[in-house]
């Protein structure tokens, strides 16, 4: 409906990343050139330094910092890896190319900077994020893609070769993959009034078939489990740039609940980033109380499920009374259900009956 702002937030991010990378390089260069060992100071990502910020409703890094000095024999290798990574990111941004996390791991070898495994290179990428206060997506580094989006939204690509090209995201019924091209695209036009993030591809397809995007003016996002950061980033942009409310539908189990929570409040892993959370997102279901209310077919909670429920109860992100009641209900009924469980009432029941009831709730939220 609105064709608002977006004077290229993607462009702005790109130039900011380039500036940051250049400044990083200049600092190191001038230290080396004047015969000193360069060092880098960044926020500590140790458990003790990850604190929950109630105002932001997400984990943030505390005041502790770590210094990584190239003069330290233990640090020089990760230091060199970090500088290489920055250099690699600079090339990506300049040449407007993207790289997956796996690509980064393999690319290093060409530059004589080996990583032991991808876990090590992923770790360094996180370090660079912390150092530059920039998400890796801003440096054109993306995870493997698995999420998709469908709905009435027209985007305009900014990736090389597609600049200015537009795509209506309702043009392909399987949805469009949320990859680097989509994440960096500008939003041009939409008639949608909300976004529904759905945990599983099965329900996503059902919603497309049932024309949810038309009936409820919703953009559908298949998170494919815990949403990748690029998807969370996209959700936040949809919320911020287009002002669309976000509703989340997941399985009725602790893992599903936590998907909703991570979209709202982020993960501890990304405590150093601010662009990934959508605090206003609403967990629509499926709740523990829905299992009772709708008499859904269910399975018994496993030991791991129960353990996870207790962990979530202790998690600072679960402050809301409603969330706690749901966690307690799980523990009381000792049951969990999948979204597909609504099929016992017919395939369209979830769209015809359940969803409208839940959307009422979102309006009131």
């Amino acid at each position: 409906m609105s064709k608002k702002k977006s004077t290229s937030s993607a462009e702005a991010r790109k130039s900011s990343a380039q500036t940051l990378l250049k400044e990083l390089g200049q600092g190191i260069y001038s230290e080396l050139d004047s015969g000193r060992f360069p060092s880098l100071t960044m926020g500590s990502r140790s458990v003790r330094n990850i604190v929950y910020d109630r105002k932001l409703q997400q984990f943030v890094l505390g005041p502790a910092t770590v210094k990584r000095s190239s003069s330290n024999i233990k640090h020089i290798r990760p230091f060199a890896q970090l500088v290489w990574l920055a250099y690699f990111a600079q090339k990506l941004v300049q040449e407007r190319k993207t790289s997956t996390l796996r690509d980064v791991f393999y690319s290093a070898q060409a530059f004589n900077v080996e990583f032991v495994d991808q876990a090590e290179s992923d770790e360094l990428i996180t370090d660079l994020e912390v150092l530059l206060h920039t998400a890796r997506e801003g440096l054109n580094i993306f995870p493997e893609e698995r999420s998709s989006i469908f709905g009435n939204l027209t985007i305009e690509y900014t990736v090389p070769g597609y600049e200015g090209k537009k795509l209506d995201l309702s043009s392909h019924p399987d949805g469009v993959m949320i990859g680097p091209a989509l994440t960096t695209a500008e939003f041009r036009d939409t008639s949608a009034e909300m976004v529904l993030a759905i945990e599983k591809g099965g329900l996503f397809t059902r919603f497309v078939e049932e024309q949810v995007h038309k009936r409820f003016k919703a953009i559908l996002v298949n998170t494919a489990g815990q949403p990748p950061r690029s998807t969370r980033f996209l959700l936040k942009r949809l919320n911020q740039e287009l002002g669309l409310p976000i509703g989340i539908l997941c399985d009725a189990d602790p893992w599903g609940a936590h998907i909703a929570m991570v979209i709202k409040s982020g993960s501890a892993n990304a405590a150093h980033l601010r662009e990934l959370t959508t605090p206003s997102a609403v967990w629509l279901g499926v709740w523990a109380t829905d299992i009772v209310k709708y008499k859904l077919p269910s399975d018994k909670l496993t030991e791991v499920d129960v353990k996870r429920l207790y962990e979530l109860k202790a998690d600072p992100r679960y402050t809301d009374k409603m969330w706690h009641e749901e966690l307690d209900t799980f523990l009381r009924i000792k049951k969990k259900s999948e979204q597909e469980a609504f099929a016992r009432y017919g395939l369209s029941y979830i769209v015809d009956t359940y969803l409208p009831a839940k959307l009422e709730l979102m309006k009131s939220a």
Partner: protein, 537 residues
């Protein structure tokens, strides 16, 4: 011997003939090894006394060349040296009479009593009944050859044939004898003997040709030789009644005081006077008039008199650090070697000196400790576990010196003395006299301490090298990528930092630990496990 008792007297030759086991000629294999050793040691002694760099040639051939001929069998042993030779008139007695040559003086020498060489000849004669052939060229002008046998009953040489010929200007002696042996079983020990002799006598050229005709050459590694030992009079502490009687028998002095001064080590007028007073013997008494009771009293007093001077160490001839190092480096090619020479000490009136070398690593030494024992430069190859060095080293706590248990370590112990306290006549292992034990322990500790220092220094050096390599690898990368990031064409001047990295790194490392990046990264992993659900990306 001085008594005229009518008991059937046996000659020294007869005695050793009957008790040849005592001298180490226990079986054909051991006897062959002993014969080689005794003749070679005689050659070395002769060369060293004359200050000639030894050239020793040893050859063993089977008398019956057929390889099917079973062991034990007759062998011919030839030992040739470039020593000063033996004067014409002394040859028969020197090689055909047991106990010839040694007077009542003491000297650090390989053999004792001139016994070993003659024992080999005696053994050869009784097993093959063939004469020994000795050729010697004392001045280099004429060569004298003797073919002779030993009259065992009478302990005297029987010369069967003698001849002389023109010599080529070089001095030397050649002994050629036949004896029963078992080379198959002796080969290992004989090989070890030559290797170890080459190690300790690194100034010698040794050639050994085995019965198969294969020659092994041990090449000289240094042209400096140990200073030849001085002859010395016996120290009063080391004298027993029999030895005292023998000295009296040859003495020409007319009074006891000059007798004491003339025949004992480090006894002067003053000490002689005080000693005789202590023993209750008149200083004017002619030695020949001493009766048995007085002799026993004197010998007893010799042991108790507190003011005799310590034996003079000038009579000792240690191998010395440069020669021992040259030998160890030549034969063991170690990565590290150190030599510790103890100051002279004494036991029972006999001076002795301990040298210990410790070698580590290299091409020859195998994992574990190997002990090489030497006494007056003779390798000791048998009965290692009965030896005092073995005892001392088995008590060493290796961890104290930071030497790993399986480290390839060679330990060379050398005792030199005017009298080595062998436990047996076979001269293969040394008694554990407390004085000797103490000296070996002190020397070994010092040498091992140096090895420990070396090992830790090597560790540090390797660590430094590793660090240098790390800085050398990563600083250029940092320079290159930062130049790229900063859009600089010129590389930053980082080179001098490569050398500094290690220092700076050490200085800053503790501070870094407090800040705990490494630790944070470890915890990071835990945290990820802790907070991410199974569905996390």
């Amino acid at each position: 011997m001085s008594s005229k008792a009518s008991f059937a007297e046996i000659s020294p030759s007869e005695f050793f003939y009957r008790n040849r086991d005592l001298a180490g000629f226990t079986n054909p294999a051991r006897a062959l090894y002993m014969a080689v050793r005794e003749l070679v040691e005689n050659s070395f002694d002769a060369c060293e006394m004359a200050g000639t760099l030894p050239e020793v040639y040893v050859r063993i051939t089977a008398e019956n060349p057929s390889p099917e001929f079973p062991e034990p069998k007759p062998y011919r042993l030839t030992v040739t040296d470039n020593g000063p030779g033996v004067s014409y008139q002394h040859v028969p007695s020197a090689f055909g009479k047991v106990f010839y040559g040694s007077k009542y003086v003491l000297r650090q020498s390989r053999g004792m009593f001139g016994l070993g060489g003659t024992m080999a000849i005696l053994y050869g004669q009784i097993t093959t009944n063939k004469p020994v052939m000795v050729t010697t060229s004392p001045e280099g002008k004429k060569k004298y050859s003797f073919q002779m046998m030993i009259d065992i009953g009478e302990n005297r040489p029987i010369v069967l044939k003698r001849s002389s010929s023109e010599a080529d200007g070089t001095t030397g002696t050649r002994v050629d004898l036949a004896l029963e042996g078992d080379y198959t079983r002796a080969a290992q020990k004989i090989g070890d003997y030559f290797k170890q002799t080459a190690l300790v006598a690194s100034y010698a050229n040794i050639t050994f040709v085995d019965p198969l005709g294969q020659a092994t050459f041990y090449e000289r590694a240094t042209s400096s030789m140990p200073t030849p030992p001085e002859e010395t009079l016996p120290h009063p502490y080391g004298i027993d009644v029999e030895a005292f009687k023998r000295i009296v028998k040859v003495a020409e002095e007319h009074d006891m005081r000059s007798f004491m001064v003339a025949h004992f080590h480090r006894v002067g007028e003053k000490i002689a006077t005080r000693f005789l007073e202590f023993a209750g013997i008149s200083p004017r008494l002619p030695p020949k008039r001493l009766n048995n009771t007085q002799i026993v009293a004197i010998v007893d007093a010799l042991q108790r008199f507190p003011d005799f001077l310590q034996p003079d160490a000038a009579v000792l001839s240690p191998v010395g650090e440069p020669i021992l190092l040259a030998g160890v480096n030549k034969e063991l090619q170690p990565e590290f070697c150190t030599v510790v020479s103890r100051p002279p000490s004494s036991y029972s009136g006999f001076p002795f000196l301990i040298e210990v070398a410790v070698a580590y690593g290299g091409k020859v030494l195998q994992p574990g400790m190997k002990l090489f024992r030497f006494a007056n430069r003779i390798p000791l190859l048998y009965d290692e576990s009965s030896d005092v060095s073995f005892k001392v080293l088995s008590e060493v706590d290796w961890r104290r010196y930071h030497v790993p248990t399986e480290a390839p370590v060679g330990i060379i112990t050398h005792i030199c003395s005017t009298r080595i306290p062998y436990k047996t006549v076979g001269k293969e292992y040394i008694a554990d006299r407390p004085e000797i034990e103490r000296e070996i322990r002190n020397a070994a500790r010092e040498a091992l301490r140096r090895l420990g220092l070396y090992l830790s220094k090597m560790e540090t050096r390797q660590a430094v090298q590793r660090k240098m390599n790390i800085y050398g690898k990563y600083l250029p990368l940092i320079a290159k990528f930062s130049a790229g990031l900063a859009n600089q064409k010129r590389m930053p001047r980082y080179h001098k930092l490569i050398g500094e990295g290690e220092k700076a790194g050490e200085a800053e490392a503790p501070a870094e630990e407090v800040q705990g990046t490494e630790k944070a990264m470890e915890i990071e992993q835990e945290k990820i496990d802790e907070f991410s659900g199974s569905k996390e990306e």
